[in-house]
């Protein structure tokens, strides 16, 4: 592996970490769309900054562009406050306007400016190692590495300092306000970090990858854990994993690095979405199916309890009477047998003592629907669930 390759992966990984941290809180605050808005609307900020500094990596440019990001958030909120449109509409109104101002500014000055829309949206990670930072003539590494590294250090420091405040104001802004932790300050702090990260990363990886790195790892992590710290670590892990594997996929396929990373992120989310143990699609579908069978079982047992006469409890009659398809009937009867809830004697089904108990309890539960009782019954009532 050449040092340029190493540097690219390092830059991509640092960007991934710097994005995953604010991204986690954006996802929890249901503000994923805002990162999209910020990433586009910083364009005019970048252009103006570039006119002033003539340097895409100047700190002033980062500050100006990040300011545009925060202004975007303010504008969205102001439009939303009028009560005339919803948040997503407000976002949709603000960022195309700002973005197109940026595009016009570039087009008007395209001749003497080394800046184009493609570069802003897609970036070019492959070129990042060529732009070196020289300190009194000594090469200390790629500029983007230093920029994103500094941003990451600040982000991590802020996260450590204000983790408690971020958590509280994200979960319960009302309590945060009543305790004196201004949710407004925390909100704009988070928006500033998201904007600065977006600007700092756009040159290396482009605005689109920034959005993908903010939202996708956090959304995947959200499906896998019920612990905020673990969610942060998982987001970071997914981000870095996609950054590095995306790099190698691009290398082998000779494709765009940003494109490959985004694709890996998408695939990763798909896998998690399908297979996550409790919130995944398959787990949810499986649970729903189990619940259906549970309900059928209960209906079946109730019928048995209600009918003492033998003709009502004949296997064939049950099939007709409860009107199930054969397969489902068989599943339910097998399940009841397996759990020793019924006995079948000469095609006549009867409840066992356990089955009778269970059914009474279940009726009780259905009628009273008391919380405490669910807890008590979880052991024997929910046959499939833990």
């Amino acid at each position: 592996m050449s040092s340029a390759q190493l540097e690219i992966q390092l830059i991509a990984s640092l960007v991934a970490i710097a994005c995953a941290i604010p991204g986690t809180f954006l996802v929890l605050r249901k503000m994923a769309m805002i990162s999209d808005a910020i990433s586009h609307s910083i364009l005019p900020g970048i252009v103006v900054g570039f006119f002033i500094t003539q340097d895409l990596n100047s700190p002033l440019l980062i500050v100006l562009a990040a300011l545009t990001g925060v202004i975007t958030v303010v504008l969205v909120e102001q439009i939303q406050k009028t009560g005339l449109v919803k948040e997503d509409t407000a976002i949709g109104l603000v960022f195309p306007a700002l973005f197109s101002i940026g595009v016009i500014m570039i087009a008007k000055n395209a001749n003497d400016v080394h800046l184009d829309v493609d570069a802003v949206l897609l970036g070019e990670l492959a070129f990042a190692p060529f732009d070196r930072l020289l300190i009194s003539g000594v090469d200390v590494g790629p500029k983007s590495l230093w920029i994103i590294g500094s941003i990451l250090v600040i982000t991590v420091a802020l996260l450590f300092a204000f983790f408690k405040e971020l958590k509280l104001s994200t979960f319960d802004a009302g309590l945060a306000a009543s305790l004196g932790f201004s949710p407004v300050i925390i909100h704009y702090g988070l928006m500033t970090v998201a904007s600065v990260t977006t600007v700092g990363a756009f040159d290396a990886v482009g605005a689109i990858l920034v959005v993908a790195l903010m939202i996708t790892p956090a959304a995947s992590a959200y499906l896998l854990t019920t612990d905020l710290k673990k969610m942060l670590f998982l987001s970071i892990f997914f981000g870095v994993f996609s950054a590095i594997s995306g790099y190698w996929v691009a290398h082998w396929l000779d494709a765009s690095i940003a494109g490959s990373i985004t694709t890996i992120l998408g695939l990763l989310f798909l896998v998690v979405y399908l297979f996550a143990p409790s919130k995944g699609l398959i787990a949810v579908m499986y649970r729903e199916k189990q619940q259906k069978i549970e309900v059928s079982l209960l209906t079946f047992l109730l019928h048995l309890k209600n009918h003492t006469e033998e003709n009502e409890r004949h296997v064939n009659h049950l099939r007709e009477h409860i009107n199930w398809q054969k397969i489902r009937a068989k599943t339910v009867v097998d399940l009841a047998l397996k759990n020793n809830m019924i006995t079948i004697d000469k095609h006549i089904v009867s409840l066992t003592e356990k089955g009778d108990d269970f059914t009474s309890q279940a009726i009780d539960y259905i009628i009273t629907n008391e919380d405490a009782q669910i807890e008590d019954m979880k052991d024997d009532f929910f046959l499939f669930r833990g």
Partner: protein, 245 residues
């Protein structure tokens, strides 16, 4: 009664988007009462509490807690928000939510430590939720979530408690458990202000009541002012229900 005034509200007017939802409210809450705030949906009950706690900025009027501004007296006040106001899918545990009650005394940046954890565990014990301390909050029933919120307020160890519908969605057993805790708070000379919807239980649970519907209709001891007349004024319809005293 020469009781101290715990909460004093003067000429409070609050609006969302220029539509006033609370109009010129004057309210004096004496120390040591267990007070119900009653009024129909949208009457501004939650808004009133939020304005007292500095969560909303009123367009006019002032609030004082034991004679000083809320900002100076934060540590004396605890808050139980309406249950629906937070996202219960948030990745955190019951214990962690209760610990949030200690954040106020910690202030910015400082992290909760053993002492805060111990206080949170005690509060969980008090509401009978200790066995659930490590449960993710979405896996708690509605009544259990409500108890977690109550524990979070208890851990603040305040003098004044504001609770927005703490009985919402709880079963009879939990309701009794909660009211007993509230009565114990009153016994310790704490002031407890509760938004309450079940009019039948007002005389049994509370000793003070405020009728609210955009304006303040009445406030005072339950035995004096909890009557059909005030109920009718508050709820608009003729309220000839038999409320046993």
């Amino acid at each position: 009664m020469s009781k101290k005034t715990a909460v004093q509200i003067d000429d409070l007017t609050v609006a969302y988007n220029y539509k006033p939802v609370l109009w010129d409210i004057d309210l004096e809450i004496p120390e040591g009462v267990l007070m119900a705030i009653v009024g129909p949906n949208g009457a501004g009950k939650s808004t009133l509490i939020k304005s007292v706690l500095g969560i909303l900025k009123p367009i006019a009027g002032s609030v004082s807690i034991y004679g000083k501004s809320y900002e100076k007296q934060r540590s004396l006040v605890a808050y139980v928000p309406q249950k629906g106001s937070v996202d219960w899918d948030f990745p955190t545990t019951a214990l962690d939510v209760v610990m949030m009650g200690t954040y106020g005394s910690l202030g910015w940046v400082k992290r909760p430590r053993q002492k805060e954890k111990k206080a949170a565990l005690e509060a969980l014990e008090q509401v009978g939720m200790l066995p659930f301390k490590n449960r993710q909050i979405s896996q708690l029933s509605g009544g259990q979530q409500q108890r977690i919120f109550l524990a979070r307020a208890l851990v603040q160890d305040a003098s004044i408690y504001f609770m927005d519908e703490p009985f919402q969605g709880v079963d009879a057993t939990t309701e009794i458990a909660i009211i007993n805790i509230l009565k114990a708070l009153r016994k310790a000379n704490k002031t407890v202000i509760v938004v309450h919807h079940d009019l039948q239980t007002v005389p049994e649970y509370f000793d003070w009541v405020t009728f609210l519907n955009v304006k303040k209709i009445a406030t005072g001891p339950v035995k004096d002012i909890f009557n059909d007349d005030n109920l009718t004024k508050t709820y608009g319809i003729n309220y000839k229900v038999s409320i046993q005293k």
